[in-house]
């Protein structure tokens, strides 16, 4: 059954039950992925997925139910389940559905053609070969995947919202394994965009070089050092701690940034921006999960917390306007709050100058275990790290298996320099994080 047909059945079921405030959120994805191993295609997958979430306001409360089966019985079932769930709630939140008739920034899907299956296979094999060619240290175990996806989102509600968004992307990923005969080290590189413009050999070379650089790494010595976080390390911090910028977390007493709008929360060189239309975003979108228009804003401006991120409900509770940051983790998830592309704005010095400024310290290239070793409520973190020593202002020997510990909220205030180039590592999807390299004084390194 098509969504349009299902929608009519759901609306009829809702009206039959006397429900007059409701919304349907529908998302779909159609993807193809090819993985190669040892010069042959090892796995191929083709996926069609999607689902509908129905939510409705009953007795002032918002109930949700979702389904992947677009059938007559499920149309009735989701209405019944959502209204029962609404009646189970006893929170004191005021609930809202987005009003129709708003003006949105016009965004269109990328104007290139997605690669065919054969082109995906060719790209993956080509990238893999380029890794083997780049260095004799590259061994089997190296895996490469090329994928493409078309996705869509639709929101339809009883207040006149009827929005539709379609996006597409293609991506190449390679995880290169290298060895020096005694140990192995690996690293990955990801590039998304128009396949006719991607330099696959460069992607392979980048992963190969960074995997190889890790070989022979020593454990860093324990102590307190100036630390330079590489863009991808700092972006992963932002990914975890972005939760603290959610007004929902603040209103629930789970963010230390509660009540701090207008006050200094970071060094005055720090500006943190959220931009749904960032040039490298893979999913620029003009409306949020409640259908509110999205826009670019500085969350932190020159060290001052300018605004938290709001949706309709939290904005009403705070007597403010939504910032257009309503977000769903999946079609079946509740409406929460997330940034789109959140990044630390660039500074004015190059990474080389930043290293010079650090003098002697540690360059943290990547961080591990952020899901467990970082506490968004207290800001404390203690994280597995790897990177390089910095000696006399330059990166020297590789170090690994050490931890860097501190407090994120203190660290924001202790950023002493920011490099001039923002990088958006990995695959962001609708929520992406970026950063330049940053220098922080006085963090604890635990190693040998």
């Amino acid at each position: 059954m098509t969504f349009d047909k299902f929608k009519i059945l759901v609306v009829a079921a809702a009206e039959k039950s006397g429900i007059d405030q409701y919304e349907l959120y529908y998302s779909t994805a159609e993807g193809t992925s090819v993985s190669v191993f040892a010069h042959e295609v090892s796995e191929f997958s083709s996926e069609v997925s999607g689902g509908v979430c129905f939510r409705c306001i009953v007795n002032g409360k918002m109930g949700y139910a979702s389904t992947q089966e677009l059938s007559e019985s499920q149309a009735e079932s989701i209405v019944k389940r959502a209204s029962e769930n609404a009646l189970s709630l006893d929170n004191e939140d005021m609930e809202f559905l987005g009003e129709g008739g708003k003006t949105y920034q016009n965004v269109s899907a990328p104007d290139y053609t997605l690669p065919t299956t054969d082109e995906l296979i060719k790209a993956a094999l080509h990238t893999e070969q380029a890794a083997y060619d780049a260095d004799s240290a590259v061994i089997d175990g190296t895996s490469t995947t090329a994928a493409s996806e078309i996705s869509s989102i639709a929101i339809f509600n009883s207040k006149g919202l009827d929005l539709h968004y379609e996006n597409k992307m293609s991506v190449i990923m390679t995880d290169v394994v290298t060895t020096d005969g005694t140990e192995m080290a690996n690293d990955r590189s990801v590039k998304a965009g128009n396949f006719s413009k991607i330099d696959f050999a460069a992607v392979a070379k980048e992963a190969t070089a960074s995997a190889k650089a890790k070989l022979g790494a020593d454990v860093a010595p324990t102590g307190a050092y100036p630390v330079v976080f590489a863009p991808k390390a700092m972006a992963s911090f932002l990914r975890v701690f972005s939760k603290a910028f959610s007004s929902e977390e603040a209103q629930k007493g789970l963010s230390p940034l509660k009540g701090r709008e207008g006050t200094v929360v970071a060094a005055d060189s720090v500006t943190i921006t959220d931009d749904p239309f960032y040039s490298e975003s893979l999913m620029p979108i003009g409306f949020d999960a409640e259908g509110s228009p999205t826009y670019k804003k500085n969350v932190v401006e020159k060290g001052v917390l300018n605004t938290l991120l709001y949706n309709l409900k939290t904005a009403a509770a705070a007597g403010k306007e939504t910032t257009g940051n309503a977000s769903k983790a999946g079609y079946d998830a509740p409406v929460e709050i997330r940034p789109f592309t959140m990044y630390i704005a660039p500074g004015s010095i190059s990474e080389e100058e930043l290293l010079k400024k650090a003098g002697n310290g540690v360059y943290v290239d990547s961080l591990g275990g952020l899901h467990a070793g970082a506490n968004t409520v207290s800001g404390d973190f203690s994280l597995q790290s790897s990177g390089f020593m910095i000696e006399n202002g330059v990166k020297t020997k590789a170090v690994k298996s050490f931890t860097v510990a501190g407090n994120f909220y203190d660290m924001l205030k202790n950023i002493t320099a920011i490099s001039d180039k923002v990088e958006l590592p990995g695959l962001g999807g609708m929520t992406a994080f970026g950063s330049p390299a940053v220098l922080v004084e006085g963090l604890t390194i635990a190693g040998k």
């Binding site: 997925s49 769930n85 192995m184 629930k252 007493g253 275990g369 207290s378 860097v404």
Partner: protein
């Protein structure tokens, strides 16, 4: 579930271009969760997941296609897509399915999807109230009661046609405590492969809430853990996450079959301290990570991975079993039909040893006692792992002293399992959700109290 004759027609299309193996997997899952915050029911998640996937193999090539359209026409077109992607050829095998019924060693007394919201809310309220009342320092309490009713059907070109129904229930509590401006969290999250009868005597909602609050209050009053390399005693239960991360992932065929593991080619060799015997057992009745059959239809079993330090077995799924030339071990798992299944852990633990807990603590002159662990992660290629200590104490002169917070443990799997040099008697399990290429799946980790003679503690 899909009729047998429909499955036969779908599989016939799947093998029509020369596949030497084909599988149809269908799923119907009811996914339900009630969330309570500050004593109020905040949200209810209520989802129905339904779909199917067709997989075909030819030699060392695997193709999967998935769909949400489970009509015969939808399944046939999904099978066609998989067959076409495999290449050009003609059918070399014929399909004839016979039904097989596996035993269910996890009887469910109260199926959660048939229980009213109000009864679930009552359980949650008991846990949240107990957590809040535990101590005046408790500032916030969050609780989730989730239940999953996961029905699967598997039909393969080898003739298998079978179903399984996996029901799980879990109570997750999180308390936030504030002492002198210092905010810390504590958690307790017991789960079982059971229905709501889990709360009739086995798991107390009140104790779960109080445990989360006790941990939060203890940590809010604690100073920072020191940084450096030292002996560490790790408590039982969820402490087993150390084996899960440091070693377990590197024993999965997902890594081993591709040469991406520190334990490749080490069967029969001493890879761990002789004190270490480690097991993956998918057959423990009612346990969080248990399955009757895996997601390829192979019956779950008890696999001894390491016996007295000697590597005995890997965890292997059907596809990787071809590359490795070894039989599947009942470990193929997938979150859902949209993920390609691969080898994963079930209930994985270090077996009880013969050291006494008091001797283990007494043996440490200066070190850390990690009473409760948080999550972790590993790079199976290099074996480098990390995990967070949720509740830690210093050990001085063989005695447990003050609580410390903010520690994490890092190291290399092959080193750390050599350094487990004392193993206590009190084996217990903890529940987790394990994330990997085939999605997020429920897995138990477990161990008795152990001592690691030397490991890097990240503190400050």
């Amino acid at each position: 579930m899909i009729e047998r004759d429909v499955c036969e027609r779908v599989l016939a299309v799947a093998v029509s271009t020369g596949a030497d193996y084909a599988e149809l997997f269908c799923e119907n899952t009811v996914d339900h969760a009630v969330n309570m915050i500050a004593g109020k029911v905040d949200s209810v998640k209520d989802g129905y997941i339904a779909g199917a996937s067709v997989r075909v193999y030819k030699g060392l090539r695997s193709v999967m296609a998935s769909t949400i359209d489970t009509t015969e026409q939808g399944l046939i077109s999904c099978a066609k897509k998989a067959a076409e992607a495999l290449g050009q050829g003609k059918a070399e095998i014929s399909i004839c399915l016979t039904q097989r019924i596996f035993g269910d060693i996890h009887p469910i007394k109260i199926v959660p999807s048939t229980v009213k919201n109000s009864d679930k809310i009552e359980v949650l309220r008991r846990a949240c109230n107990a957590a809040k009342e535990y101590d005046g320092a408790i500032k916030q309490v969050k609780g989730t009661l989730l239940d999953v009713d996961h029905g699967i059907m598997i039909a393969t070109s080898e003739g298998l046609y079978t179903t399984d129904r996996q029901i799980r229930t879990r109570l997750s509590m999180e308390s936030v405590a504030e002492i002198g401006g210092e905010t810390q969290t504590g958690t307790a999250s017991p789960g079982r492969r059971m229905g709501m009868e889990m709360f009739d005597g086995l798991i107390s909602p009140e104790e779960t809430g109080r445990e989360a609050s006790r941990q939060a209050v203890t940590m809010a009053g604690a100073g920072y853990a020191p940084a450096g390399t030292m002996p560490v005693v790790i408590g039982n239960g969820f402490g087993g996450v150390i084996f899960h991360e440091a070693c377990g992932h590197s024993l999965e065929a997902t890594s081993v079959a591709y040469g991406c593991s520190q334990f490749c080619g080490k069967l029969g060799q001493q890879i761990a301290n002789p004190k270490v015997t480690a097991v993956d057992d998918g057959t423990i009745p009612g346990a969080w990570g248990s399955i009757n059959i895996d997601d390829e239809g192979t019956p779950a079993r008890k696999n001894v991975l390491i016996e007295k330090g000697v590597l005995k077995s890997y965890m292997i799924d059907k596809f990787n079993s071809r590359r490795m030339g070894m039989e599947p071990t009942g470990n193929a798992r997938r979150q859902s039909y949209g993920y390609t299944p691969t080898s994963r852990m079930t209930n994985t633990y270090i077996a009880a040893g013969d050291d006494k807990n008091e001797d283990i603590i007494a043996s440490v002159e200066y070190g850390l006692y990690a009473k409760a662990m948080g999550g972790g992660s590993v790079n199976p290629t290099t074996g480098e792992f990390n995990f967070a200590v949720r509740e830690g104490y210093m050990i001085r002169g063989g005695k447990v002293c003050e609580a410390v917070r903010g520690a994490c443990l890092v190291g290399k799997g092959s080193d750390v399992i050599m350094n487990i040099d004392m193993v206590g008697p009190d084996l217990d399990m903890g529940q987790g959700m394990c994330g990997s290429s085939s999605g997020s799946i429920p897995a138990n980790v477990g161990q008795p109290m152990i001592r690691v003679s030397s490991i890097t503690v990240g503190g400050r």
